[in-house]
């Protein structure tokens, strides 16, 4: 804790998933070697602290002047003697009791004050909560050790009182946790239900909140104790502890002042403090992994990956791409780690083909794998996605196998129109700058040429005042305008193929029609091929030439749009049509 512990305590403010049963947690902890070592080490510290009178070879104040500044491992003073001729080992053993006591004090004060304060503030809310939160924030902002030094003038050399004050100073971390949980729970139904059934309020709070915050508080306690031991040793090292009783920090300080006379003497107290704080932090980290592990996915090992790839059946020789095909996807399979060493397939053998000037719709419900297919075509799958097989043929190259070809194609020949216009613009730079960056990445143009080109295109996609919009930041324009900007970005490099992922879903209905119209016009002007991912059959009917229907990672049916709507072959397609479309709206 180089750093002030109050500021450093990591945020465990996620009132996590229900904690697993207790013995289960311990067993899982024991499987983590670092956690196991930490637990054993801390258990030894506790035993040593409690058993010091029996275990220590000497009393802490036993003096043998012949062993003054004795080096470690050279005399009956195993870890050496201090400047007054006392046994460092015995003093450390006795000092452990002070550390244990301080730990208990810090833990009790910080937990009781934090939890009770959080319960009250979260439950009563209103002005009390505002004040409590302000105080809590103020305390969090302060360098705790400076205040403890100042308070030494009031409390004197009593390390236990100082540690109680430290417990107060660190209580806000628990306070914030509990308050957030209570505030969230207040509004939840089962509290209301319990109210109706006539339970007194405090019981509701205790039962539900304490259960919910138990796991994060246990984890937090590890960090609090590590910080507390560091602070305690620090205060004692500064000479602000009780000089009459041995303490880890005090022994370290005494050894440090004689470091030139007896080098080895600082090693034991320094490492003792070091290992103890480390043990608490490691244990807390391990506990967090065990108690809140829901979100963590381990990446697959290379062997697991090979096994997953081998399990995929490679299709027999497929027909080559049609002569006039711009893009041909064959047997595409994509998966993600399932968290248990296997792979969950989200795209299972998808094939489709797009001609120049064709708008190919890819429809299906969410989770059917249509967006994943689109990203695979763009070569922009998320990092943890695993391509299990298949090919994306574009202009003679397999973009899945040939990363360079994929890179060269992106922006220049294959472009992307995203779903959510606002989140797809870099919020920190102007529209002009981000469009220019994209254009100049694929075309050798001067800044001025790029600007002129882009202004023309912005005008073309229906932006009334391109010059002004060019210098605006994304948050200054509307969603519809942002989508036009993104379309400009897509067509700027003069691509042959556009992959549009739900390009109208986030827009107002009136704007939707305009954007679809724009896409159609651009297709006509430039002979673009287009893959249009959508769940909206209205959009499909409006603009697509061909439609592939996706379900559970597979394409179940592919037909020209009119044929699909009039004579769907698959039951799933019929289901989709009947659930989504009014008969009159069909083309």
């Amino acid at each position: 804790m180089s750093a002030d512990p109050v500021a450093l305590i990591p945020d465990v403010e996620r009132p996590a998933q229900a904690p697993a049963p207790k013995e289960h947690v311990l067993r899982r902890l024991a499987r983590d070697p670092l956690a196991l070592i930490s637990m054993v080490y801390l258990a030894i510290i506790v035993v040593v602290g409690l058993g010091a009178p029996l275990l220590a070879p000497h009393s802490p104040n036993h003096v043998d002047l012949t062993l003054t500044n004795a080096a470690p491992f050279t005399s009956e003073f195993l870890l050496g003697g201090d400047a007054s001729g006392r046994d460092i080992l015995s003093r450390l053993l006795w000092a452990t009791r002070g550390t244990l006591l301080a730990c208990v004090v810090v833990l009790v004060v910080s937990t009781v004050v934090g939890v009770v304060g959080g319960l009250l503030a979260g439950y009563f809310q209103g002005r009390a909560e505002t004040v409590a939160s302000w105080v809590s924030d103020a305390i969090m902002a302060l360098p705790g050790i400076v205040l403890l030094i100042a308070l030494y003038t009031v409390i004197g050399p009593s390390i236990i009182t100082a540690m109680a004050v430290f417990g107060l100073l660190i209580a806000p971390s628990n306070f914030r946790l509990v308050r957030a949980v209570v505030a969230g729970m207040r509004n939840e139904l089962y509290v209301d239900a319990a109210k109706v059934s006539g339970l007194p309020d405090w019981r509701i709070i205790f039962r539900h909140v304490l259960l919910a915050v138990r796991a994060p508080i246990i984890i937090q306690s590890g960090f609090v104790l590590a910080a507390g031991i560091g602070i305690q040793a620090g205060l004692e090292f500064l000479g602000l502890g009780d000089p009459r009783t041995p303490s880890w920090g005090g022994i370290l300080q005494q050894s440090f002042t004689t470091i030139y006379l007896n080098r080895g003497a600082v090693v034991a107290p320094a490492l003792l403090v070091c290992f103890t704080t480390l043990a608490f932090v490691l244990l807390a980290n391990a506990l967090r992994d065990v108690l809140q592990s829901g979100s963590r996915h381990r990446p697959l090992t290379s062997r697991q990956l090979a096994a997953a790839r081998a399990s995929v059946v490679t299709p027999e020789a497929e027909p080559g791409p049609a002569d006039d095909a711009l893009l041909t996807v064959r047997s595409l399979r994509i998966g993600y780690p399932d968290g248990a060493g296997g792979v969950r397939q989200v795209v299972s053998g998808v094939g489709l083909s797009v001609r120049r000037g064709e708008i190919h719709g890819l429809v299906g419900e969410s989770g059917s794998g249509k967006s994943q297919t689109a990203f695979a075509v763009l070569g922009l799958l998320p990092k943890d996605a695993i391509v299990l097989g298949g090919s994306v043929l574009f202009d003679g190259a397999d973009l899945l196998a040939d990363r360079d070809a994929a890179r060269a194609a992106r922006g220049a020949r294959i472009a992307y129109v995203p779903q959510e216009p606002m989140s797809n613009l870099d919020p920190t730079i102007t529209i002009g700058r981000q469009l220019t960056a994209g254009l100049r990445a694929v075309r050798r143009l001067s800044k001025r040429e790029a600007r002129e080109h882009l202004l023309r295109l912005l005008g073309r996609v229906g932006i009334a005042d391109p010059e002004t919009v060019f210098d605006l930041y994304p948050h200054q324009i509307s969603g519809g305008m942002a989508q036009r900007v993104l379309i400009t970005g897509a067509i700027a490099g003069d691509p042959d193929l556009i992959v549009a992922d739900e390009p109208t879903t986030a827009l107002d209905v009136t704007v939707q029609a305009d954007v679809l119209e724009l896409l159609r016009e651009l297709r006509d002007e430039r002979g673009l091929g287009m893959v249009l991912v959508t769940h909206d059959l209205g959009v499909v009917a409006d603009i697509c030439d061909t439609v592939s229907v996706m379900h559970d990672g597979e394409i179940v049916e592919c037909q020209p749009v009119r044929a699909l709507f009039t004579s769907p072959r698959e039951p799933y397609t019929r289901e989709l049509l009947s659930s989504a479309l009014d008969p009159e709206e069909m083309p």
Binding site: A3, A138, A141, P143, L238, L252
Partner: protein
């Protein structure tokens, strides 16, 4: 933007006022016992009472606080109980030492965090694992323990650098720099790991945002995306991380100054606390609170300025 800055400024002043007031009331609460602490157990009650009157400790604590505020408005923080020296001028000789150590550490920490944090977020792999290891280690081991171990090995063991002591820069610039290496290193080792790891988190959050994918789709190279776009967005969270770490470091700096016998504010505070020279301790507290408040203010205002949504509206 101006309104925001003024609001933050007001809240900073309020925090300073509340904390210094609370501290003052706490440590000046019991005037007679302060006088007793100054004179020692042997002093007679009469001399103690006389000293209390002389130092104004017989006054009610609120009127002492009022006096302190009035002195403060005149630029004075009172006088030492022992030497009678002006607290302001005592602080003035100490502040530069503390600020230089802190400043160098913050600078290096910022630089290393951005480099390592970005590399870990973009490349992942072993850099990421090494960083995680150091983050845990650094945040777990107190800085002063690191300092003691550094003195033991680098200074006493290998004799590479001076163990303790401070050299005035105007006397020997090289010696001054050498006297700062170990202190800076000790604080840095403790804080840079977690700072870099937090920055790594900020960068990898941004890397997962939609706009990064869209920029990639335009054919912009990965390097340009990281340096031209991602780091720009990471500047605001990065600043917050740096601010928090800077404040967090202050406690470590106090201890480090004692380990290396550097004549900074922390050293002064401890020395004066042990002697019950309360006006000087109060001055040190004010300094620490001001550092916290100023760092927070700068982080907030610059962070807001970095965000076009706040800047342009």
């Amino acid at each position: 933007m101006i309104v925001y800055t003024l609001r933050r400024l007001g809240s900073a002043l309020l925090l300073t006022a509340v904390v210094t007031c609370a501290t003052f009331l706490l440590i000046f609460r019991d005037g007679p016992s302060i006088a007793r602490a100054i004179l020692g157990e042997q002093a007679t009650q009469e001399t103690v009472d006389a000293r209390a009157v002389e130092l104004g400790l017989d006054q009610p604590v609120f009127s002492q606080y009022w006096q302190w505020l009035r002195d403060l408005s005149g630029g004075s923080l009172g006088h030492s109980f022992f030497t009678g020296e002006d607290v302001t001028s005592m602080l003035a000789t100490r502040v530069p030492v503390t600020l230089i150590i802190t400043g160098v550490v913050v600078l290096l920490m910022g630089l290393i965090s951005v480099l390592v944090g970005t590399a870990a977020a973009v490349k992942g792999g072993w850099i990421d694992r090494v960083l995680q290891f150091f983050a845990v280690l650094g945040s777990a081991v107190p800085a002063f323990i690191v300092a003691v171990l550094l003195v033991l090995t680098v200074a006493v063991g290998w004799g590479l650098l001076p163990a303790t002591g401070y050299v005035q820069p105007e006397r020997d610039l090289g010696g001054w720099a050498r006297s700062l290496v170990l202190p800076v290193l000790a604080i840095l080792i403790g804080s840079v790991g977690s700072a870099a790891q937090q920055f790594r988190g900020a960068v990898s959050d941004i890397l997962q945002q939609d706009f990064v994918r869209t920029l990639r789709s335009r054919g912009i190279g990965e390097g340009r995306i990281v340096f031209g776009h991602v780091l720009r967005s990471a500047a605001a969270p990065g600043l917050t991380i740096l601010g928090l770490q800077t404040i967090g470091m202050l406690g470590g700096v106090v201890l480090i100054e004692r380990v290396f016998a550097l004549p900074g504010i922390g050293d002064l505070a401890v020395e004066m606390a042990l002697r019950a020279d309360i006006p000087v301790v109060m001055g040190c507290v004010l300094f620490a609170v001001l550092v916290v408040v100023v760092v927070n203010l700068v982080t907030d205002v610059v962070g807001a300025w970095l965000n076009p949504k706040v800047r342009i509206s």
